[in-house]
């Protein structure tokens, strides 16, 4: 089957999708009319209301191709006047790709760049064009690499492919977005692209799908049924147009190479894959480290800190490893992108175009005027009100207090077990006294257990509890040390946050913990390591 036939089939299927939308709406309208005819009055109004609720996402998400999450309100809009250099590069990339420049640039917090259009008339006529550009890309890419990324994105809109294929591509985009509007009900596989980006840590702070997706849960069962029909068709459509989509991705890669050069295009793919991992790690270890303590990094640093991590000499080896090993697996069966490793291989197999080292073009972040202010404003529009209301502290304080709060949370199950079994205020001392009195394993038995652990009996049951008991105890000890000012989490960009206990103390603590959670507990070594024993005069 040639490209034309394949594309035509995809077009037909896309038309089918809209037909399905019309059909569903028609059924709704028919039902409403019938109800009014047979049962006028309050009941009919109620049914009207329910039908309207059911129809709303169909109308909004698919028919007008304006799914709610694409309302253009996400991210930070930057004007031509405030960011002329960035705009110039974007325009240059679009021009080189043979397509028109976007009407709007919006900065986001994701490791992603995307061009979208508010297309009208079932996606056949162009509308307002929008570039979403993740600041982590600006932090991690050089100018040449950014050009390569933009080249790929604009490549989808250029004349590099047949007109019909372009419609297919837009169709896929529209269908995917429609499916996303039904996110709560949709099969997770279809949605992998999205959920992947919403890593746990980000979900906690960034304005996630809750704010953007249509709240369909209230509409209940009927709504879910309707959604299923669309999702099923969408999956079918996505699968049928897969081969066309794949070709387009590779064609877009060729545009990227033409615009930015072979080396920049290949290295941009490697760098983006590395950034994906580095950014997730950064969010987990640094940016959101203070959440447990209700703290945020200084304004602008939530997104700005990534650049410091990337610049840290102690992290270069890990980063080089990530660049060298791009992901080989397909991300999802519905993703149009071939595995990154495959795309890189194809690009690197091209002859040398002599455009040289992409590193010489300088960092992409330099395109941004007043980056601190911009990154601060980006926080305002992407983070939740709760996190924006949090106290701002410097990085070292953030990591220290954040880890302290996590430590306290980690010790909570053990505290709760102590309260349950012994009553009282559940201090470390109370627990150690209870251990000396032979009650330790009774306390341990009150810890929350896994299914396997609660099935076990005798010595095996104890083996399941021992590590839980040990880690809870360790956390209680560390909290005492920290609160007495004898220990602190030291933060560094090369090593996260590390508790500054001496090696010797650490070894002794391990042995003491081991003795304290033995079948016959011995708490003496542990007591010798507590603040009161270490500094009798002070505590």
């Amino acid at each position: 089957m040639g490209v034309f036939l394949r594309a035509s089939r995809a077009l037909l299927l896309l038309a089918g999708f809209y037909l399905l939308c019309l059909l569903v709406l028609g059924v709704f309208a028919g039902t409403a009319l019938a109800v009014h005819h047979w049962a006028p009055g309050v009941a009919a109004l109620k049914i009207d209301f329910i039908l309207a609720l059911l129809a709303l996402p169909v109308v909004r998400a698919s028919f007008f191709l304006r799914p709610p999450q694409d309302d253009g309100q996400d991210g930070l809009r930057v004007s031509k006047a405030s960011q002329p250099e960035l705009w110039a590069v974007v325009r240059q990339a679009a021009e080189a790709a043979g397509t028109r420049a976007p009407d709007e640039i919006r900065l986001t917090g994701a490791v992603n760049a995307a061009v979208s259009e508010d297309a009208r008339m079932l996606g056949l006529t162009p509308g307002r064009r929008r570039l979403r550009l993740g600041v982590p890309l600006l932090a991690g890419l050089t100018r040449a690499q950014l050009m390569a990324v933009l080249g790929h994105e604009f490549g989808h809109y250029g004349n590099a492919d047949t007109r019909l294929s372009a419609i297919t591509w837009r169709g896929r985009l529209a269908v995917t977005r429609t499916v996303r509007a039904y996110h709560e009900q949709a099969d997770r596989r279809v949605d992998k692209e999205r959920t992947r980006q919403e890593k746990k840590a980000v979900k906690a702070v960034a304005k996630g799908r809750k704010a953007k997706a249509v709240d369909t849960s209230g509409a209940g069962f009927g709504h879910r049924r309707t959604a299923k029909v669309f999702v099923a068709y969408a999956k079918f459509y996505l699968r049928s147009s897969q081969s066309v989509a794949r070709r387009q991705e590779l064609a877009a890669d060729r545009v990227s190479v033409r615009i930015a050069g072979r080396d920049a295009a290949a290295s941009a793919l490697r760098e983006t894959a590395a950034l994906d991992a580095a950014h997730a790690f950064y969010l987990r270890t640094y940016a959101t480290a203070g959440l447990a303590a209700g703290l945020m990094p200084p304004r602008g640093q939530f997104y700005g800190g990534l650049a410091r991590l990337l610049a840290e000499p102690g992290r270069q080896e890990e980063l080089a490893g990530l660049r060298a090993e791009p992901p080989r697996e397909e991300t999802s069966p519905y993703d149009a992108h071939p595995p990154t490793a495959e795309r890189i291989r194809l690009i690197e197999a091209l002859p040398d175009d002599g455009r040289g080292d992409p590193a010489s073009s300088g960092p992409a972040m330099a395109l941004l005027r007043e980056p601190e202010r911009v990154l601060g404003e980006l926080e305002d529009v992407t983070l939740t009100a709760e996190s924006l209301a949090m106290r701002r502290v410097d990085w070292p304080e953030l990591l220290h207090l954040g880890r302290r709060a996590e430590c306290a949370a980690g010790a909570e199950p053990l505290r709760e077990a102590v309260r349950q079994v012994l009553g009282g205020d559940a201090t470390l001392r109370a627990l150690l006294d209870a251990a000396d009195g032979g009650a330790l394993w009774r306390v341990a038995d009150a810890l929350p257990k896994s299914e396997e652990a609660s099935r076990a009996s005798g010595r095996a049951a104890r083996e399941f509890l021992r590590p839980l008991l040990r880690s809870g105890l360790a956390e209680l000890v560390i909290l005492e040390l920290v609160d007495a000012g004898l220990a602190r989490w030291e933060m560094s960009w090369s090593d996260g946050a590390r508790l500054d206990l001496s090696d010797d103390y650490g070894d002794r603590l391990n042995e003491a913990l081991e003795a304290a959670v033995a079948d016959t507990p011995d708490t003496r070594p542990l007591r010798l390591l507590l603040p009161r024993a270490l500094h009798p005069a002070t505590f």
């Binding site: 896994s450 396997e452 652990a453 076990a456 009996s457 005798g458 010595r459 095996a460 083996e463 399941f464 021992r466 590590p467 079948d519």
Partner: protein, 354 residues
């Protein structure tokens, strides 16, 4: 569709029932179970419900020991281990019996250790009980249905057992038992092949033809644990070649074959010439084994299984006669209901041998 659902469920249940019977029902298609059992009873065989699934043969001393340690008395166990002396096969059997109890509740063992610190016999029981405990924590399921918590506990407890194994070795340097215990730690912790060979050299220097030791080490060399079928053969053949007749070591070939092929063997595979000669070699070896050999019953069970598979029913029946009543042996122990599996094979032999 909705109306067909119960049909599907029933079909699926029937399929599951068939599958569970498949292994056990080799050749039992033609007669009803009650008729079979009647034949078996006429020959003096015990019903399924009367089969002991704790051990492979009758052993009154072990029964008594088990009862006494369960009751919290350590002295009978201490006396029994001491009485076994340098009968290493018996020593490891007694240690295994009481260590199995200690893996669940070790109060009696702690009492023994307190009463006689540095007793090598208590030390060897302690080490073995900890290895058993590790397996208890892991559970008997396959790796993919074992939780991370279970694996971590397994690993942690096995690591702890190593210190206890070393202590037992130091307290009685001649005793191979702690070395045999270490084979199971090696298997669980994934010792390198080199480390395993060193361990094996030390073990065989102390007990060259110990059946249980060989069985354990063969598990290590099997594909499902730390080796491959080729490595398992490399281990088994020299061991058999070096062993005098009557040590039962030729049965290792059957164990090896069972571990690597039984799951997807066809009827013809069981009757293939190689396997037939392995079975014959075991028959020849048991004929020369002392009737008091502690592993004889275990080997007869395995032999009986293969003889039924090879349709040598009369020969199988002879083996069944000698072991009926106690079924804790390969291959029955691999079935969810060992007694039922045993009886199904036994009854096949009874019926077809006539």
């Amino acid at each position: 569709m909705g109306r067909l659902l119960p049909l599907f469920v029933i079909a699926f249940l029937v399929y599951l029932w068939f599958r569970s019977r498949r292994g056990a029902s080799a050749g039992t298609r033609s007669a009803s179970p009650s008729a079979l059992s009647e034949g078996a009873f006429a020959l003096g065989f015990l019903p399924e419900s009367a089969q002991n699934t704790e051990r492979a043969r009758r052993d009154a001393e072990l029964d008594a020991l088990s009862a006494s340690v369960r009751a919290g008395e350590w002295e009978p166990a201490a006396r029994a281990v001491a009485a076994a002396g340098r009968n290493w096969e018996r020593r490891s059997e007694i240690v295994g019996e009481v260590a199995g109890v200690a893996a669940k509740d070790d109060a009696w063992l702690t009492a023994w250790e307190t009463a006689r610190p540095d007793d090598p016999d208590a030390a060897v029981v302690r080490a073995k009980s900890t290895v058993f405990l590790a397996w208890e924590v892991r559970g008997g399921a396959r790796a993919d249905s074992t939780s991370r918590e279970q694996f971590e506990g397994f690993d942690r407890v096995l690591r702890r057992s190593r210190a206890e194994i070393e202590r037992a070795k130091a307290l009685n340097p001649e005793d191979p038992t702690p070395w045999i215990t270490e084979v199971w730690a090696a298997l669980g912790l994934g010792y390198s092949h080199e480390a395993m060979r060193e361990l094996w050299a030390e073990l065989t220097a102390r007990a060259p033809h110990h059946y249980a030791a060989h069985y354990s080490a063969l598990q290590y060399w099997c594909e499902k644990w730390r080796g491959s079928e080729a490595l398992a053969w490399e281990f088994v053949e020299p061991a058999i070649a070096a062993a005098p007749p009557g040590t039962l070591l030729p049965a290792l070939r059957l164990v090896l074959w069972y571990e690597h092929h039984d799951d997807d063997a066809s009827e013809a595979d069981y009757r293939e010439a190689g396997l037939t000669s392995y079975v014959d070699a075991v028959l020849a070896d048991i004929a020369m084994a002392p009737p008091t050999h502690l592993r004889l019953a275990e080997v007869r069970h395995l032999l009986a299984y293969f003889l039924v598979r090879q349709k040598r029913h009369a020969e199988a029946l002879e083996q069944f006669r000698m072991v009926d009543g106690h079924v804790e042996a390969l291959p029955w122990r691999r079935y969810t209901d060992p007694a039922a599996a045993y009886c199904a094979f036994r009854d096949t032999a009874v019926r077809k041998a006539r």
